[in-house]
């Protein structure tokens, strides 16, 4: 049906004409036809005017009126049919080409944006991307649907009428178009000016779009702090600025239009004057002058509109430039050539970090000298303070970001040699902040599978994430629709659905980034025991803050300020003074207190002794 993912990369060149021409790939013939058809329609209309004049001047007073009348009438209908036919052809073809281009650009942008790097998205505002993908694409579409085709009308009308004037008198013809260079110069000047002003306008629209987008995603915060007034003020500022810039844009047009009007008007008067002089001097006949007066109006119109067209094209040009800025960003290569693909059995899951350094931006290193090795199937726990770099560390494995120093090997091969696509297929990550898409619970769980999944598989994953019973308690079960970002689920429900989503893809390496932080202790225990089975034969990275979640790990890494400060198993670490011991003591103290509390409770002895005595 639709041509998807057309590579628009090559359209991105500096020269705007070439860019537009390339954008027309595949529709060039159609578009040219549309351009010419509109010109022919304009000619047909001119024909109607001339036929009318001919009718009044010649046919009406003549003797043979009755004979000629049907022919003239037929001529009118014929010309009108031609005009209508050409108008329609042009409209339809131009619409086709413009909509096709819009379709291609939309698809391409969508794909392109989702393939840009994490770093790009970290620093980009959603509202602005949205504005460019919608409003700027719309302006580009308009350029092809409305402005581009106008060229045909202008050129053909100009050519025909110019030739007609040349036929009357060559010199007169030249005098009639002396204004063109001036109009062109002014048009080019305004092309720049209008472009600048329109750019500023679109820029402000992007600002407004950002403001709105952020406001909407943070609506709960706005309400929680009753900041509606404040938000209104801020929106008002941006909105008013947009109005101001819009007014400035109108002003540009309001200056440009009359200025070309005056110029072309002067040209017309000059034409009349010179023509009149020639007629009076006898260089041309009075009849010729009358004809010339008619043609002159028809030649001024295209000249005047050429200027407007040029100024209008600048808006499409600005819009396209803004789109090109996104297109120009390099995609995150998912399937580079000549890089390693994990074997058919997948990865074994041996991970070795050697002196790895990492920074999001060059001057603030986040990880220093990370050095550890994991054998296949082991469980690594990461523990550490807020902002110590745990999430950053695990984010290196699926190559969300690339490490800046040292080496990471996976099954003995440098991580950078792997193709991201297959790598990510083998690595399942439950992110710290659960994100769901609007849709049903079922769709969300199946979201990452990349194949048709059965209800049984979905249920199995949901059960492992201890969310099956909850889902079944909803009136619509797995068909329950979750709102945008999953707003209609509770925090813990969301988190468990994302867990189920990751478990379903059956990854070789499993990363759980604080995946049970919003889940109550009972449910967490349930999940943990389910995961125990699932983690067998899978290399697993667990980030958590609670000792009991990490204590069974084969390797515990304690991070502080981006460095590994302690490593070992629970038994190694619990007796060594250090962060781990501090955390342990803190939690143990609470437990001791609980133990005391329990001791105070009748009958407790039995319960605890039973376990303790084994």
């Amino acid at each position: 049906m639709s041509k998807q993912a057309l590579n628009l990369e090559e359209t991105v060149v500096e020269n705007r004409l070439i860019s537009f021409w390339r954008l027309l790939t595949g529709h060039r013939l159609l578009y040219l036809t549309a351009v010419i058809a509109l010109g022919l329609a304009a000619l047909a209309q001119t024909g109607i005017f001339y036929l009318l004049r001919y009718f009044v001047d010649t046919v009406l007073p003549s003797e043979t009126l009755a004979v000629q009348l049907p022919w003239v009438a037929l001529g009118f209908v014929g010309l009108a049919l031609l005009q209508g036919g050409f108008t329609f052809t042009s409209g339809r073809l131009a619409a086709y080409a413009a909509e096709q281009i819009a379709l291609e650009v939309r698809n391409y942008l969508y794909d392109h944006i989702q393939r840009l790097s994490f770093t790009y998205h970290d620093n980009q505002q959603t509202g602005e991307l949205l504005q460019r993908a919608t409003s700027d694409v719309e302006a580009l579409r308009k350029l092809f649907a409305e402005q581009g085709v106008g060229i045909g009308r202008i050129v053909l009308m100009f050519a025909v009428n110019f030739v007609a004037i040349v036929a009357i008198n060559g010199r007169l013809a030249l005098y009639s178009i002396v204004i063109i260079p001036i109009v062109l110069i002014i048009a080019v000047y305004f092309f720049k000016k209008v472009g600048e002003v329109f750019d500023a306008f679109q820029e402000q629209e992007a600002v407004l779009s950002n403001r709105l987008q952020e406001h909407l995603t943070g609506i709960r915060v706005v309400k929680a702090f009753a900041r509606q007034e404040y938000e209104l003020e801020r929106f008002e500022d941006d909105n008013y600025e947009k109005f101001r810039r819009g007014r400035r844009l109108s002003k540009m047009h309001a200056i440009f239009w009359p200025s070309t009007d005056v110029l072309t008007g002067l040209q017309m008067i000059a034409g009349f004057y010179i023509g009149a002089q020639m007629a009076i001097e006898g260089t041309i006949t009075v009849g010729a002058f009358l004809a010339y007066a008619g043609f002159l109006g028809q030649i001024i119109w295209p000249i005047r509109n050429l200027g407007r067209l040029i100024a209008d094209i600048s808006t499409g040009d600005v819009a396209f430039t803004r789109i090109k800025q996104i297109m120009r960003e390099t995609r995150e290569p998912l399937a580079e050539q000549g890089t390693v693909v994990p074997g058919p059995d997948g990865l074994r899951g041996e991970v070795v970090f050697r002196h790895v350094d990492f920074a999001y931006d060059a001057d603030t290193p986040v990880l220093h000298d990370i050095d550890f090795a994991v054998r296949p199937g082991q469980v690594v726990a990461l523990l550490g303070g807020t902002g110590s770099g745990k999430t950053s560390l695990v984010g290196l494995l699926p190559r969300f970001y690339d490490y800046t120093g040292g080496s990471i090997t996976l099954d003995g091969v440098e991580l950078r040699e792997y193709r991201r696509q297959e790598l990510r297929q083998q690595i399942g990550i439950v992110m710290q902040e659960p994100f769901l898409f609007s849709g049903t619970v079922r769709d969300n769980i199946a979201y990452g599978a990349g194949r048709v999944v059965t209800q049984e598989e979905i249920v199995a994953a949901a059960k492992a994430a201890a969310v099956h019973d909850v889902i079944m308690s909803f009136p619509k079960g797995y068909d329950t629709v979750v709102g945008e970002r999953g707003v209609t689920l509770s925090g813990g429900q969301k988190q468990r659905v994302t867990l189920a989503r990751t478990l379903l893809i059956n990854p070789r390496i499993l990363i759980l980034d604080d995946a049970t932080s919003s889940v109550d202790t009972e449910t967490e225990a349930e999940i943990r025991s389910a995961l125990l089975t699932l983690m067998q034969n899978r290399t697993t990275f667990v980030i958590a803050h609670r000792i009991q979640t990490v204590m069974t790990a084969d390797l515990i890494l304690v991070l502080e300020n981006g460095r590994i400060v302690q490593r070992g198993t629970h038994d190694d670490l619990v007796d060594k003074p250090g962060i781990y011991q501090q955390i342990y003591d803190l939690q143990a103290r609470i437990e001791e207190e609980l133990e005391e509390d329990l001791a105070a409770v009748d009958g407790y002895q039995n319960g605890y002794a039973m376990v303790g005595s084994r």
């Binding site: 009406l60 504005q131 709960r220 009359p258 005056v262 609007s438």
Partner: protein
């Protein structure tokens, strides 16, 4: 294959009435609010069209008075008049472009402002159902169409109508029988317009609807791009988006070519009119009912009329588009917020005092009650911890307290007073709530903190950050308090975001303080550090703490266990342990398991739960 996700939920509302005159009227009224501008372009365009016809007359004079008698001075003087006229003409062109352009942008500005203001009043339940993309396209792109119609559209209509009326007037004056012949085309035009209207409007409604779906799709993709990448959804997303974009293509192409068909049809019909005149004029001329000069004028008026008629046809099509947009805008503006200030609601001045959940029943959706007959009294200054399994309704409870949602039965009383008699603002501004999902706005750390209290001094901000344990990491950041946090706070770690949102609420110095899992992603050492500060903060302030960690809740004055829509247990930590109910189980079971694990003991399988599955497929 998974169905198109966007299909499921936000069923875009359908507008079915075929032609909504009220929508146009309403659009017009938005323009009329700035009647001087409207007047400006009416005068401007009126003068311009007058001058245009006068210019034709001047041309005639050049010929009659200059060329034919061979009088160069006459040519010169008329040309001079012509030039002066052009200068005047330019002034009026400036006037109408400036007023129409300004009006268009002004109406957009007004509509956006109104919509944004209205969005402030809409309740959270509305936002649960409505996507960001929907609201974005409503606020960003629809007003553009309406603004264009109010300015350029009305301008063109005005011009066309004025031209047509004057032409028809002259024609009637010259020869009314001939004029009536041409008027035959009017019903034809009306019928054609009505036929087209139905189809074009339908297509444009579809286009606007798809436009907002596409915006939603982009918006959701950009927001969820990290998940998409980690799950390698790119191909399939593109496939789904491609379908949507394909539908958009189909609909707008159809709309475009339908409009493109309308124009030639109008051209043909008007040519029929011309032909009719030509046909009948022969007879009229021979009867002597019209002079050749009259006929010439007649004919030139007809040709002159063809432009405005075509222009009307063009505007007519874009008007359909603007109507479709207007309908969507007004549907947003007409949405009644479910929670509003009751008549006579007032600001109580303070929320201090006992809080009573008075027999509350609440559900988000019919048939799925979250709380039933829930009653609870909280003393002023008490710290209440809320625990319970996930999805039990803890967040719901505090949402009700904040009046983000209203109970379907019962009410909440602050100091004995029904909170429905208070203004929403007075409640929201006195409750400090740390939300379960931390959200920051792009800007600096300082700006985000200050969101809690806009007039806080730097010292107060730092003090709040210290209290919330955020100060240490903030000063370690590149630019300290001036560090940019990125959209939604992406440039920070999740724990850091939580600490900042905690500090933000602390800064607000609320009467009632609510922490909904405010420190769930914060490490235990930091949390222990904060604990102290929080206790001073909560001292004397009614506070609600929702948490799963024992360490966070055990010092509360009272702990509530919420389960199955009500409070199942209540008491201090020690009391609840003694009760040996759910709470006891919740924490001792976990505790026993930990001990068991620590000593390497086997666990009895979790009862009745089939967790022994393999996901390998």
């Amino acid at each position: 294959m998974v169905k198109k996700m966007s299909d499921h939920y936000y069923e875009e509302e359908e507008f079915t009435e075929s032609f909504n005159g009220r929508t146009i009227l309403r659009i017009f009224r938005h323009g009329w609010n700035h009647w001087p501008l409207m007047l400006g372009f009416i005068v401007g365009i009126g003068m311009v069209s007058l001058m245009e016809s006068y210019m034709t007359y001047l041309t005639k004079r050049i010929i009659d008075e200059g060329i034919i008698p061979g009088d160069m001075t006459a040519v010169w003087s008329i040309s001079l008049q012509y030039m002066l006229l052009f200068v005047l003409f330019a002034v009026f062109v400036y006037l109408f472009i400036m007023s129409a352009g300004t009006l268009g942008h002004r109406v957009q500005y007004d509509l956006r402002k109104q919509m944004f203001a209205h969005m402030q009043k809409l309740s959270l339940s509305y936002y649960d159902r409505t996507t960001t993309g929907w609201l974005m396209s409503r606020t960003m792109s629809d007003p553009t169409r309406v603004g264009d119609l109010v300015s350029w559209g009305f301008l063109d209509i005005m011009w066309a109508v004025m031209s047509i009326i004057s032409a028809v007037g002259f024609m009637l004056w010259i020869n009314w029988r001939l004029a009536l012949v041409t008027l035959v085309v009017i019903p034809l035009l009306a019928v054609a317009a009505m036929q087209f209207e139905k189809h074009i409007l339908r297509e444009y409604r579809l286009v606007r609807k798809l436009n907002s779906m596409i915006t939603s799709s982009y918006s959701e993709m950009i927001n969820g791009v990290r998940v998409i990448k980690s799950l390698r959804r790119e191909e399939r997303n593109l496939g789904q988006f491609g379908e949507l974009a394909g539908d958009m293509y189909q609909a707008s192409y159809r709309a475009a070519w339908l409009s493109a068909l309308f124009l030639p049809v109008v051209q043909l019909i008007s040519a029929v009119g011309v032909t009719a005149v030509v046909w009948f004029s022969g007879r009229e001329f021979q009867n002597g009912a019209v002079t050749i000069g009259g006929l010439q004028a007649f004919v030139s008026y007809i040709t002159f009329m063809m432009w405005p008629i075509q222009e009307l046809a063009r505007v007519y099509a874009t008007m359909q588009q603007a109507i479709a947009s207007g309908e969507r805008i007004f549907s947003l503006l007409d949405t009644k917020p479910t929670i509003v200030n009751a008549p006579g609601a007032s600001d109580p001045g303070s929320l201090r005092g006992d809080i009573l959940f008075d027999n509350i029943t609440f559900q988000y959706e019919e048939g799925k009650p979250v709380l039933t007959d829930f009653t609870l009294e909280i003393k002023q200054g008490e710290t209440v911890a809320i625990v319970g399994p996930t999805g039990a309704g803890k967040s719901t409870l505090v949402n009700l307290l904040c009046r983000f949602y209203e109970p379907s039965a019962g009410t909440v009383r602050f100091g004995g007073r029904d909170y429905r008699t208070m203004t929403l603002h007075s409640i929201h501004s006195r409750i400090g709530m740390v939300l379960q999902t931390p959200h920051l706005f792009s800007g600096t750390v300082l700006e985000n903190l200050r969101y809690g209290r806009l007039d806080a001094t730097d010292e107060e901000v730092v003090a709040a950050a210290r209290l919330a344990g955020a100060h240490e990491f903030i000063i370690d950041l590149d630019e300290g308090y001036e560090t940019q946090v990125g959209e939604g706070g992406v440039l920070l770690s999740v724990g850091q975001k939580q600490l900042i949102s905690l500090a933000r609420a602390v800064l607000a110095k609320p009467d009632v303080f609510i922490m909904d899992e405010a420190t769930s992603s914060v490490d235990t050492l930091t949390e222990a550090l904060i604990q102290q500060g929080m206790e001073t903060l909560m001292d004397g302030r009614t506070s609600f703490v929702i948490a799963h960690r024992l360490s966070t809740i055990k010092n509360a004055d009272r702990i509530l266990v919420i389960e199955n829509g009500g409070v199942s247990e209540m008491g201090t930590h020690a009391e609840l342990i003694r009760q040996r109910g759910h709470y006891y189980n919740l924490y001792t079971k976990q505790f026993r398991e930990e001990k068991a694990e620590a000593y390497g003991l086997e666990l009895a399988p979790a009862n009745g739960n089939d967790t022994n599955l393999s996901l390998a497929v």
